[in-house]
Amino acid sequence: MRASEPAPLLEVRELRVHFPLRGGLFGRARGIVRAVDGVSFSIAAGETLGLVGESGCGKTTLGRAVLKLVGVTSGSVRFEGQDVLAARGAKLLGIRRAMQVVFQDPWSSLNPRMTAGAIVAEGIEIHRLARAAEKQRRVAALLEQVGLPADAAGRLPHEFSGGQRQRIAVARALAVEPRFVVCDEAVSSLDVSVQAQILNLLLELRERRGLAYLFISHDLAVVRTMSRRVAVMHLGEIVEIGPADEVLARPRHPYTQALLAAVPRPRSDGEPPRLALQGEPPSPIDPPSGCRFHPRCPLARAECRAAPPPVRTAAPDHEYRCIL
């Protein structure tokens, strides 16, 4: 699917990430995992695109592919007009500085032997952004900006709570002054009361620094809070994309409707569950023919099995893949 907007910050075209599935005695390829299979979207400067979908839909792989952290099979990723996938050496280093990532698990994404200060300073050193005294000053300012106490720089990751560790991860990402940050389930492992604090921090940083986010989450309410636009991913493909107010309030694709129906909310007695999904996500190794959602779709017809669905337009900038 395409999106309009003049000169986007990030532009992804027909991106495919396929992994060979190895097994057996000699590790021969037994099949291909189509983790990301023909994905296109763009993100403007200062904008947030929310990316939702079930586990295994390819959303994490997509986030990493955009950052050139996994090998890409085909397609293109352009950042500020530069070809990210072809970039090498100094050019790649420059792109890496502008594109950062915050991962889900603040327990495994921080080196346990490095102090919070050293973790945040690492990027500044790699990109040679500041020398000794200036570096210390910047690290202190960053830690303060993400709401950590003044003595945090000298402490090791295990001395912090989960929420504080996630603040360190955010400070690390910000240290190199990026213009784009991939947040991959960045608040999913946090307690409810702490989750709101980190979301507020990300909102504030976006306003103050004009950051753009690719905000990956399985939590639709979190995505609604963070994103102006939302993309829904199913089995390696984006099945619906558009303004959050449209996609999450007037979903067009049956899969988006089913995801929304599955969100727990108090129901009055006797009210039947809406569009409950049967079965579990099919495997990206051998995706179903035609529309990949058809085996679970409550509205599927014979033709859904035969051919991939067309891209339809529901409203300006709101597109979905379904014959209905």
Binding site: V192, S193, A262, P273
Partner: protein, 333 residues
């Protein structure tokens, strides 16, 4: 009214620690009637899981029940011998955990594991147990249960494994099912299926449910009553719909207010109403009301006086441990 199925009174659970024992659960009381679903909600470290494990007398090493009474069908579980308790576990009170992968034995087929309880508790023969196990697997929605019966846990998805755990728990038709974050490791769509399954089974078997979760919306959708825990204590309790509509304790109010909303986007410059600070460490619970360091309406007395659960707006069923709860609820309205 008849006596409740489960009556927990002043439960205190301690864990060995340095320098002294730490009270993870500190004076928790609640009841569950036959067939009732109670949701126990709270953030990590609030003592909700320790409460469930104490009910089964299955606390991990270092943990012990230091006080209180646990009456199940009028019998004090704490006075039973280990053998008597073992016979009740699984048969009258069963449990489903968050990680189905860890709850299943990787070396046995799913039919063996589901049937085992029937062999142990009901003296069923191997053949009878297998037949009953297949029927149970069918009931919990394992497709082609007869063919899948000889599968090993690793051959199943997370959702299917959790269904197997539920089948195991239900094998002896327990009167009470404890479910500790049973859907947290699962996708939302699968989570909805598992919750629906639990609701169906509860209606069918007349089983009571203690559903433990960090997710207020989730327990609110699945339970009759809610109890909110903070720092080892229950701070608010009441009918689910009422508690969610008219939360009284500042902590419950804060939890609800800080939730990102699906029905509304934030305006430019708007922020979520986050609760400041972090969940306290059990080794250093704050004195007085344990929520006072994070509470927006805390007063001087909150630092020293431990608030008791008291009726909210003269309700007979809705209680909160905050002397200013009515005021706070009124002010926000």
């Amino acid at each position: 009214m008849s006596a409740p199925l489960l009556d927990v009174e002043g439960l205190r659970v301690e864990f060995a620690g340095e320098p002294g024992a730490v009270a993870a659960v500190d004076g928790v009381s609640f009841t569950i009637d036959e067939g009732q679903a109670l949701g126990l909600v709270g953030e990590s470290g609030c003592g909700k899981s320790a409460t469930a494990l104490a009910l089964l007398r299955l606390l991990p090493a270092g943990g012990r029940i230091a006080g209180g009474r646990l009456r199940f069908r009028g019998v004090d579980l704490l006075e039973l011998s280990n053998e008597e308790m073992r016979r009740r576990r699984g048969r009258e009170i069963a449990m489903v955990f968050q990680e189905p992968a860890a709850a299943l034995d990787p070396l046995f087929t799913i039919a063996d594991q589901v049937g085992e309880a029937l062999e142990v508790h009901e003296g069923a023969s191997r053949r009878e147990a297998r037949k009953a196990a297949i029927a149970l697997l069918e009931r919990v929605g394992i497709p082609e249960a007869a063919r899948r019966a000889d599968s090993y846990p690793h051959e199943l998805s997370g959702g299917m494994r959790q269904r197997v755990c539920i089948a195991m728990a239900l094998a002896c038709r327990p009167a009470l099912l404890l479910a500790d974050e049973p859907t947290t490791a699962l996708d939302v769509t699968v989570q909805a299926q598992i919750l629906e399954l639990l609701a169906e089974l509860r209606r069918e078997l007349g089983m009571a449910l203690l559903l433990i979760s960090h997710d207020l919306a989730l327990v609110g959708a699945s339970c009759d009553d809610l109890a909110v825990m903070y720092a080892g204590r229950i701070v608010e309790r009441g009918p689910a719909a009422r508690l969610l509509e008219r939360p009284a304790h500042p902590y419950t109010r804060g939890l609800l207010a800080s939730r990102p909303r699906l029905d509304r986007a934030l305006a430019a410059g708007e922020r979520l109403a986050a609760i400041p600070g972090t969940v306290p460490d059990p080794r250093a619970w704050p004195p007085g009301c344990r929520f006072h360091p994070r509470c927006p309406i805390a007063r001087e007395s909150c630092r020293s006086e431990v608030p008791a659960l008291a009726a909210v707006a003269s309700s007979a069923v809705h209680v909160a441990a905050c002397p200013y709860a009515d005021e706070a609820a009124g002010a926000a309205r």
